[in-house]
Subunit: 406 residues, 2 copies
């Protein structure tokens, strides 16, 4: 028997190992086909999503192999009860996918994953992070993971902490405190493993014994950037390192931008801790906004170009100004304890201010004198003095009232 | 003949001098009576406003002198076609005002003003700053001014720059640049003459040859604080120093808080440049908000308690994040040149990013290779390469295409 052209004896043990659990024949096909699709389509390709969604990953892969034309593909979409796609767009999409079919639809990606201990998650897997489905037609087709089930389960209570590679001491200090503080409050920390702010967010979470998850722009076989290999290896032990491209895939600028949408979608909220005017983290912030996820930005000195991007988020994109872990947690609380804003008794406070203005610690004054000086009616002065006396804030001497210091 | 009990020969020359122009009999009475009221009622007293508004300043003063009861006062309000006021509130108000009547309703305040060269503005004066009328029932009854008509005329194009006394070097630097930059853009600078941010705002405006106006919490005869006497004297020459209390009145905490409403109301917008969590400038910001005036706040390091108040304004009170004079000017532009936000051609930019990802400066690659690497259709790759070649961004060598550096 074969599945998608591969012998069961070759395919089943490999797919089972990479999936991490036993699967039926349809499951085997699904995992294999999604592994292939993760190498055929670039991240965020909505035509790939539509075709896989309509025909199943295996069915769509068979269509590619059969060399279906846009017309044939649309006929199948219609048969499956799905909307057809513009023929021009499908034609362009097929031209994108076909050159990659031969390499991607083999056992090679699965073997590479098995070699480094990576697993493949597909959307039907109970460990699939539900947040990324909010990306809708731009959701990933599959996710390659090196890490723990516990880390995957922690994503619904995670916060993304992102920022510029070119971080300052200020940005790193604030990020370290934010990450440790959020771990203390029960959050997992998501970021992009870059130098600067991202790296500090992961490291501080690790140091605090927290769960931290990185989304990479290339394959999880190669920990990028090189200087963070040790950190990412440690994360893979206690947290997770995740990518939507198969092993061997190089990180490109396009893939960094698309990776950012996963960071925004996988977490409850995104905080930009330090970012210059052109930092890639602003792209992550944009994804968070588009997804309706809460977005926070940490301000910095206006004289620091390294904070210009954060200020732009505050100014133009409705980011919430956050200055400490408590405020970050308020962006997406883990529970819903109500917070009250005590407005106080304004009129009484105003009268008290006037009364104290008219009094002295040293010079005793009688109530009439205080009434003239304060502009308050005499009976109001008497009533306030009486109440304050009970509290020990004023005292009546032989020649009049004085304030009690302190 | 007498006016409000004073001989015309005494009153008319004095009032004329302090008003700065000739007045008819009603005008003389109005100026004298408002001068008296400015010493009878504390700033922001809405009952004083209501009574003066209904009966005229002179009529209301006659009523005080006649010892009208709340019932009599309400009868006159009704006669004048105005709403009556709660008898309890009127009773309390009369008890506030009566103790001050004897001192305030004399020639003394006018003589003090004449001595220091201060003038009295009343709402009917064409130089009256219209902005303060937005305070409605909390508008000032009169304004004592030491300064130029030009400065009064500049208030409609002014910006308030306020902040904490306990300013840091950062706050002062940013304030100096803001003030000078706004002067360059045609704004007058309003502030409260305090040490720290206020003082820097005034000084930088003076140094830039701009118009700057201070609102004081006490009388304009005494320049407060003492260390700013020279600065305020210079401001009175080219700008203005304004108070709603008569000469001799001491600044009290209550009066500082009320003074802040004038700063907010007299200017087009308010910017808080540096303020700790308890800075009085947050009160000015609150007034600006209540008045519907644009409110800006300059962020600072989250590690600096001196910026905590600014961050609170950004976070909780909808202040706009402003980082330079251009952004401050945008809060309340002096003209209405449209600004365009160029969204660019997103799809084309995305394809270009992918194309460049797939190319090298050193290794020539043919279009088919670039198509596979980029995931773009071959014909799209060819079309983009053709266009980029015309711009000199890529070049075709013997063995394929390379990017042109720089």
């Amino acid at each position: 028997m074969t599945i998608l052209g591969f012998g069961e004896n070759d395919l089943v043990p490999l797919v089972t190992a990479v999936a991490g659990h036993d699967l039926d024949r349809a499951g085997i096909e699904e995992v294999f086909a999604r592994a292939a699709w993760s190498g055929i389509a670039e991240p965020g390709d909505r035509f790939a999503f539509a075709v896989v969604d309509a025909l199943g990953a295996g069915g769509a892969l068979r269509g590619l192999r059969a060399g279906w034309s846009p017309v044939e593909l649309n006929a199948r979409l219609a048969d499956a009860g799905h909307d057809t796609l513009p023929a021009d767009d499908l034609d362009t999409a097929l031209k994108r996918w076909m050159p990659r079919l031969a390499d991607a639809a083999t056992l090679h990606p699965l073997r590479q994953a098995a070699r480094v201990g990576a697993r493949l998650l597909v959307p039907s897997d109970p460990r699939w992070p539900a947040g990324v489905d909010d990306l809708e037609e731009h959701a990933p087709l599959a996710l390659w993971v090196r890490g723990t089930d516990e880390a995957l389960a922690a994503l619904p209570r995670s916060m993304s902490l992102v920022g510029a590679r070119a971080a300052t001491g200020y940005g790193e200090t604030v990020t370290g405190e934010a990450s440790a503080g959020l771990v203390d409050r029960g959050y997992a920390i998501v970021s992009g493993a870059a130098y600067g702010i991202d790296g500090m967010a992961h490291r501080a979470a690790l140091r605090s014994g927290g769960i931290t998850v990185a989304f990479l722009a290339g394959g999880v076989d190669r920990f990028y950037p090189g200087g963070h290999e040790t950190m990412l290896a440690e994360m893979a032990q206690t947290g997770a390192v995740i990518a939507e491209l198969p092993c061997g895939a190089a990180p490109t600028r396009w893939r960094f931008l698309q990776r950012n949408r996963l960071i925004a979608a996988a977490s409850r909220a995104t905080v930009v801790l330090e970012a210059g005017a052109r930092s890639g983290s602003l792209n992550t912030a944009g994804h968070a906004s588009q997804l309706g996820r809460p977005l926070g930005a940490v301000p910095g000195p206006v004289t620091s170009p390294a904070s210009a991007g954060c200020h732009r988020l505050l100014r133009e994109f409705g980011a919430v100004c956050v200055t400490n872990p408590d405020q970050m947690a308020e962006l997406a609380p883990l529970d819903h304890a109500p917070t009250l804003f005590d407005l106080g008794d304004g009129a009484r406070a105003a009268d008290l201010t006037r009364l104290y203005d008219a009094m002295s610690v040293r010079s005793p004054r009688d109530a009439a004198d205080i009434a003239v000086r304060s502009g308050l009616p005499l009976d109001r002065v008497r009533s306030l003095l009486g109440r304050l006396e009970l509290d020990g804030d004023v005292v009546e001497r032989e020649r009049g009232w004085v304030m009690v210091p302190g």
